[in-house]
């Protein structure tokens, strides 16, 4: 496959096994630069495994076997010797908010500090404020920057993890069912944030809410039981003209 300038991630024949159990089989897809790429599908369809393969979190899981290739900007991820540098390019937001047991400030400042790009205190202050503003959290926590991040409310913690993911200036942002523990109002605020962010980063949005993909994603993939059933423009997929009947059934709410 020849990589073209507007393809950010190219995945070819990606298969993931946990021991003998197959979580994902022969998935090939491309994610374009600055799009929101939605992945929908019921539980156990391999969505999270897919994300873990992209930023090579399989290294943390001895029984997770990944085959096939993932290219980011045309470079195969497995050829990166410094996997930490690869992960710094990719921000991740997990299903349940993980406010690390650090202060709000330190949560956001962690990534630049780890990378050694923190710079002066004033620069760091500015970065923290910018990231918190972008995650629509600044106004709520600006007087509580020294409080423990793990003591914020669920919705605030989730926006904190988004701010944290942004602080590493990622090229790619992967969100894994981010709204599962977040109230609807906060969800809508985060969705607005994502629409703005797409100008700068490429976003992979894994969601169990079909309508969320419809609202946000430019293109959407439907995963089912470890198989990528269909990928198409979101509009096409949701207009009832999906090619595979299973996709129509899932989107139409007949199962899942």
């Amino acid at each position: 496959m020849v990589s073209t300038a507007h393809n950010k991630i190219e995945v070819q024949d990606l298969s993931i096994h946990y021991g003998a159990h197959k979580a994902l089989g022969n998935v090939s897809l491309t994610v374009r630069k600055n799009e929101i790429f939605g992945i929908i599908g019921p539980a156990n369809s391999g969505k999270t495994s897919f994300l873990n393969a992209v930023n090579r979190m399989d290294m943390m899981r001895p029984n997770m076997n990944v085959s096939g290739t993932v290219r980011i900007d045309g470079i195969e991820t497995r050829s990166w010797r410094n996997v930490y540098a690869l992960r710094r390019k990719i921000g991740v937001v997990f299903p349940l908010p993980v406010g690390l047991p650090l202060t709000v400030y330190d949560n956001v400042a962690l990534a630049p500090r780890l990378a050694g790009t923190a710079g002066s205190r004033a620069d760091l202050n500015e970065l923290v404020e910018r990231c918190l503003r972008r995650a629509a959290l600044w106004d709520e926590v600006k007087d509580r920057l020294t409080h423990l991040g793990s003591l914020l409310s669920g919705g605030q913690q989730q926006r904190l993890t988004i701010a944290r993911a942004l602080s590493q200036s990622p090229e790619i942002l992967m969100l894994d069912e981010f709204s599962i523990a977040v109230d609807p109002v906060t969800t809508m605020r985060i969705e607005d944030v994502l629409k703005e962010l797409k100008e700068e980063v490429t976003i992979i949005l894994v969601t169990n809410l079909v309508q969320q993909a419809n609202r946000l994603a430019d293109r959407t993939a439907f995963f089912l039981n470890g198989e990528c059933v269909e990928i198409d423009d979101t509009e096409t997929l949701f207009s009832g003209s999906a090619k595979d009947p299973r996709t129509n059934d899932y989107i139409g709410g007949k199962f899942g």
């Binding site: 943390m60 930490y84 540098a85 992960r87 997990f94 993980v98």
Partner: protein
């Protein structure tokens, strides 16, 4: 006929029975602690009322309870010796134990980890008199030849033995503390591009600090409380240690060595119980400090 709302069925009685049983179990812990304290206090009371000279007790290094014309009861030398050994032992034990716990909890997998855990538990099962034996017959000549000193029994020997004795318990408590840190923290840190060491250093260690603190204080408690091994490794001579090779005498060892040779009810007998009360307060203080620090950490 009773209505369903106030019928006492079988489950109701079983529930009441187990609630009472658990209540008795819970209360018994308090009863035992208070009982032990009262016993020790009662035995030491006569000394505290009649013979205790507070200044002499705490600030005199002279422990001569058997002197015929002028018995003196000073525990300063013993407190200094016990404290010195505990501090040195912890300085040796903590880095090793926490390092071992980090390896077991964060890096070791499968068989390596299981074997390590079994070996460490095995270390904890060695009786303290065997440690004393090791101190006398292995460490003693080793220290004499290595440092070219006349005697190998003393602060260094005791601290090494105590460090080895405390290591398994400190390691396993520290490992529990690391285990209690949710994996989501590690994954979040690694997803941010943290290396393994950065993850441990910046996220896991801060998250586990309460547990590590209690592990350390448990080690300190062990240091103050250990008797038999220290009795054998210390040289047992009353002396404020000024170097790590000096012999000293521990508070606990004094009680163990002398109690059997005193007449019950004599001032000497009672003074040993006064030392017991002092040890009781020290442990109480250590636990209280731990409690306050842990609470302070939680609030922050």
């Amino acid at each position: 006929m009773a209505t369903a709302s106030d019928a006492r069925d079988k489950n109701w009685f079983i529930d009441k029975f187990f609630q009472s049983l658990m209540f008795v179990c819970g209360i018994s812990a308090i009863v035992f602690v208070v009982g032990i304290f009262l016993f020790v206090f009662k035995e030491g009371l006569g000394f505290i009322v009649n013979d205790l000279n507070v200044a002499e007790f705490f600030f005199s290094p002279k422990w001569r309870p058997t002197s015929l014309h002028q018995p003196t009861y000073g525990i300063l030398a013993m407190v200094a010796g016990t404290a010195a050994v505990t501090v040195l032992a912890m300085a040796i034990c903590l880095p090793f134990s926490i390092g071992a716990a980090i390896f077991i909890a964060e890096f070791a997998t499968g068989k390596t980890r299981e074997i390590l855990k079994i070996l460490i538990e095995f270390l904890a099962a060695i009786p303290s008199v065997v440690w004393g034996f090791i101190a006398l017959s292995i460490m003693n000549p080793l220290i004499i030849t290595t440092f070219e000193v006349p005697m190998g029994l003393g602060v260094l020997n005791s601290a090494l033995i105590l460090a080895l004795m405390a290591a398994p318990i400190v390691t396993s408590i520290a490992e529990d503390a690391f285990k209690a840190v949710p994996d989501t923290y590690r994954e979040a840190a690694e997803a941010l591009g943290a290396t393994r060491w950065q993850t441990i250093h910046k996220v896991v260690l801060p998250a586990a600090k309460n547990g590590l603190l209690s592990a350390g204080l448990l080690g300190v408690g062990r240091g103050f409380g250990e008797t038999m091994a220290i009795l054998m490794a210390s040289g047992h001579s009353i002396n404020i240690p000024t170097s790590v090779f000096d012999s000293f005498r521990a508070l606990t060892a004094t009680i163990a060595a002398e109690l059997g040779e005193t007449a019950v009810g004599s001032p000497h007998y009672q003074s040993l119980f006064a030392i017991g009360i002092f040890l009781f307060f020290i442990t109480f203080l250590i636990n209280m400090t731990a409690d306050f620090i842990v609470r302070g950490v939680k609030k922050g």
